[in-house]
């Protein structure tokens, strides 16, 4: 059985002025997994992200029940800044997380705040910028970087503290498809290189199809499923409201499986799908 890095047990949460946003959430995030959190708008995905990083309920306040354990320790009584050294967070509005004038200062910010030696800060900054494809940009002003580069810079700042988990809340919502593919490729490369557990809130799961290992699905604040991607996609496909969130390729796959009573492979790319369908004799839309 795989070790879990985040565990929510019977977790309920409501903001001070709201109804329950999360209800009876029981789930585990496996170590080293690439997990996608999906669900319709208002399902509680962002709040779940915040719960995984200790921001909810103890930093923002609110009403809760149950427990959230991050890397074996309850978030209760822990400072968000301490959790942040092990769990990186990138918000949807990533610009709001940028606080410095230059790229180097931005990456070094949290390291300096945690008292790292200047030599180590410089080395980690250099390495983190290199990892995200911005080598040697330490002295660049933030306004000299494009939107996509600023987002990668924030990823570098997150990476520099060597987190064991990175949580990203809809990181590509304001990007074009090329930019989105590029960011997720980079994220996957980091996941592969360092074994970092990645948790991404993304309603366009298509972008992540080649990389996702596990999926958490929420609906109206309740957990629909938390399972491997293949199992979760099947559960989503059975639900009329959630079906559009299943990657288009898998909607085809599950539709074909249902119609012809066959079991197809776990397609991750269009090429894989085309190859298998051709092998089975499906040709040019004449099934």
């Amino acid at each position: 059985m795989m070790e879990s890095v985040i565990r929510l047990e019977n977790f309920y949460f409501a903001y001070n002025k709201s109804e329950l946003v999360l209800q009876d959430i029981d789930l585990e995030i496996k170590k080293g997994s690439f997990t996608v959190v999906a669900g319709p708008s208002g399902a509680g995905k962002t709040t779940l992200c915040k719960a995984m990083t200790g921001i909810v309920p103890f930093y923002m306040g609110g009403r809760y029940s149950g427990d959230v354990q991050v890397l074996g320790e309850s978030t209760k009584g822990r400072r968000v800044s301490d959790i942040a050294m092990r769990v990186g967070l990138m918000l949807e509005d990533y610009e709001s997380q940028l606080v410095s004038l230059t790229a180097g200062e931005e990456v070094a910010f949290s390291l300096l705040n945690h008292g790292f030696a200047p030599e180590e800060v410089a080395e980690r900054t250099r390495k983190a910028l290199e990892d995200v494809g911005l080598p040697g940009r330490e002295s660049y002003q933030l306004d000299e970087l494009s939107g996509g580069q600023r987002q990668r810079l924030l990823l570098a700042a997150t990476l520099a503290v060597h987190p064991e988990i990175i949580v990203l809340d809809e990181p590509v919502s304001a990007m074009d498809p090329d930019g989105a593919h590029s960011l997720y490729e980079l994220l996957y490369a980091i996941h592969q290189r360092y074994g970092t557990t990645i948790i991404v809130v993304e309603h366009r799961v298509d972008y992540l199809l080649p990389y996702v290992t596990d999926m958490v699905v929420l609906k109206e604040g309740q957990l629909v499923t938390a399972d491997t991607f293949a199992a979760a996609a099947r559960t989503m496909y059975e639900d009329e409201e959630l079906r559009p969130l299943v990657p288009a390729l898998w909607q085809v796959k599950l539709g074909v499986e249902r119609r012809f009573g066959i079991t197809l492979g776990e397609w991750r790319t269009e090429a894989e799908a085309a190859a298998e369908l051709q092998l089975l004799g499906f040709e040019g839309g004449n099934a």
Binding site: Y12, Y15, D24, P57, Y59, M60, G61, Y64, V80
Partner: protein, 193 residues
């Protein structure tokens, strides 16, 4: 139990937690509003010898928003006074430190008293506290000037204090008008407190 009912009434007791973020946020809000106040103080024209004291208005907003402890209010007042000293054209610039200390402490005590009396949600709270903080600050500052310049008491009473009252009224309005938008900016997801 149907789903609608379940959303409203979980079968568990929820524990209420206060936001932890307020630990340092008051510092950030104070610094930001002071910076805005200093800029406005520099560019505001003097109309008929009267100009609003943006610094007092800004710390009145901060104190109304964050309800700081008395020692925090002393810190706010001291910093406010220090920021006014370099640009002061008065006969005794250091008087700003004493006057802003008085203003911030007055505002803090008033806010605490109003919260205790159940006036926390009273819409005119920023107006009243902004006005009275300015009166306290201006009163102390002009009294120091009276002593330094050796002016007679009736000059202070009948010439200086009325001007302080006019500035106080202006500041009360500014505090009242800006309190809502600033609150919205910094306290989006929280309760009135």
């Amino acid at each position: 139990m149907d789903k609608e009912k379940n959303t409203r009434l979980p079968l568990v007791d929820l524990i209420e937690v206060k936001p932890m973020q307020d630990g340092y946020r008051w510092v950030a809000i104070t610094a930001m509003l002071f910076a805005i106040g200093i800029i406005l103080h520099t560019v505001s024209p003097n109309v008929g010898g009267v100009t609003p004291n943006w610094t007092i208005a800004m710390y009145s907003i901060v104190i109304n928003l964050t309800n700081p402890t008395l020692s925090q209010a002393v810190g706010i007042g001291f910093i406010a006074g220090i920021t006014l000293v370099p640009s002061s054209k008065s006969a005794f610039p250091l008087g700003n430190i004493a006057s802003e200390l008085s203003g911030a402490i007055t505002c803090c005590i008033l806010v605490k008293a109003m919260l205790r009396c159940g006036l926390g949600k009273w819409k005119l709270r920023p107006l009243v506290t902004g006005f009275l903080a300015t009166m306290a600050s201006g009163g102390v500052f002009t009294f120091i000037l009276k002593i330094v310049l050796g002016l007679p008491l009736h000059v202070w009473l009948y010439a200086m204090l009325p001007v302080v009252a006019i500035v106080g009224a202006l500041n009360g309005m500014i505090t009242f008008l800006l309190f809502g938008p600033v609150r919205k900016l910094f306290f989006v997801q929280e309760d009135d407190e």
